[in-house]
Symmetry: C2
Subunit: 211 residues, 2 copies
């Protein structure tokens, strides 16, 4: 709508082209592994232009994370799974179908937010932005859990998130079935949270003992 990235006359175009290239490169290869020079060259832009639109590389990374949040978390995971299920339960489980498709698509690159978190360390400002992104995803899960009438939704969302993150890493490691495996566990998790009673039926050794 705003800009045809080929139209060099449009002033909005340079920024968009930079961001698109950055998205492509950062999401596939990580942050540290991609230098601004490469972004500049691949987006056919002058260095000064990049630094006019983004004060530092960090600013560019933050902008990239925002776009990732829109494209991945919202447009893909949230909206696509919502479209595929008619009840909150189905919509929750459909998230893993979406992940499964993503994993097998050409777009499957790497888990950006986790990657940033590990690459920059937990205290880096960019990492904090990544953590916010992950939190939004959990919010979506929690909301659906509430609509589905589940109990202990906060804990539910955290457990659910473990399954999502774990399956994405497993897929990255080479397990093509990871999302389907996680979905099975996710279905059980839903059942566990249909009742209000806590998970106090955990087998032996719940609390880690001393020496």
């Amino acid at each position: 709508m705003t800009a045809d990235p080929e139209d060099h006359r449009n002033p909005y175009v340079a920024r968009e082209r930079i961001l698109r290239t950055a998205y492509e490169l950062f999401s596939r290869r990580g942050i540290r592994a991609v230098g601004v020079d490469e972004v500049i060259e691949r987006s056919s832009v002058a260095k000064a232009t990049l630094y006019r639109h983004f004060r530092t590389k960090n600013d560019l990374v933050i902008a990239f994370l925002e776009r990732r949040q829109q494209v991945w978390t919202r447009d893909m995971v949230r909206d696509e799974s919502e479209r595929r299920g008619s009840t909150p339960d189905e919509q929750l489980l459909a998230m893993f179908d979406v992940l499964d498709e993503w994993i097998h698509s050409d777009d499957f690159d790497r888990c950006t937010f986790i990657n940033v978190l590990l690459e920059m360390g937990p205290d880096h400002p960019v990492s904090r932005a990544a953590i916010d992104c992950l939190e939004e995803l959990r919010g979506i899960v929690k909301e659906r859990a509430e609509k589905a009438g589940l109990h202990r939704t906060e804990e539910f969302a955290l457990s659910w998130h473990i399954l999502m993150k774990g399956s994405i890493i497993a897929a990255y490691e080479g397990d093509g079935e990871a999302a389907r495996r996680a979905k099975i566990m996710a279905a059980d998790l839903i059942e566990q949270h249909r009742t209000p009673d806590g998970p106090e039926r955990v087998p032996a050794g719940s609390k880690a003992g001393g020496s």
Copy 2:
């Protein structure tokens, strides 16, 4: 046994001191973020000494991964959980108790193998070493599953691994209860695999549909 790291006269000492420092730094801050100069300075060693013992930084990283495999995967996760349970089931579940303790200890740094994998990309030789390490962990899980008389142990181990990886990442992100959450799901997973029937009771939308 081999060496007192303070004894500068012992020829085995320099290598050990370098490796110890590398372990400390790499496991806490990642690979790319730590340069050889820092390793050299922190281990009070000359640059030539480091490069005498390790041909390149990559070689040092590989040696670090081997040590990590011993210290983390084998000594900690495998042996410690074995000690804590008397049956294979208990030993499996105790893995999450060990993780829980680790997460809350000062030693909790980051998930080294996943970190390397993401940092270097899946095709890097160092990443392949990391994948081998992760595979060994799954082998331990599979073996215990067989001893416990579970079915479809290969798939069981892969699912189990999703829970482990997911909970470690979640803990890194800030969820201190991640290992305990994962343990609950793990207990359910064991129950699922007590019977030989496949997981074909997955709810609606198992196969992701088209557009």
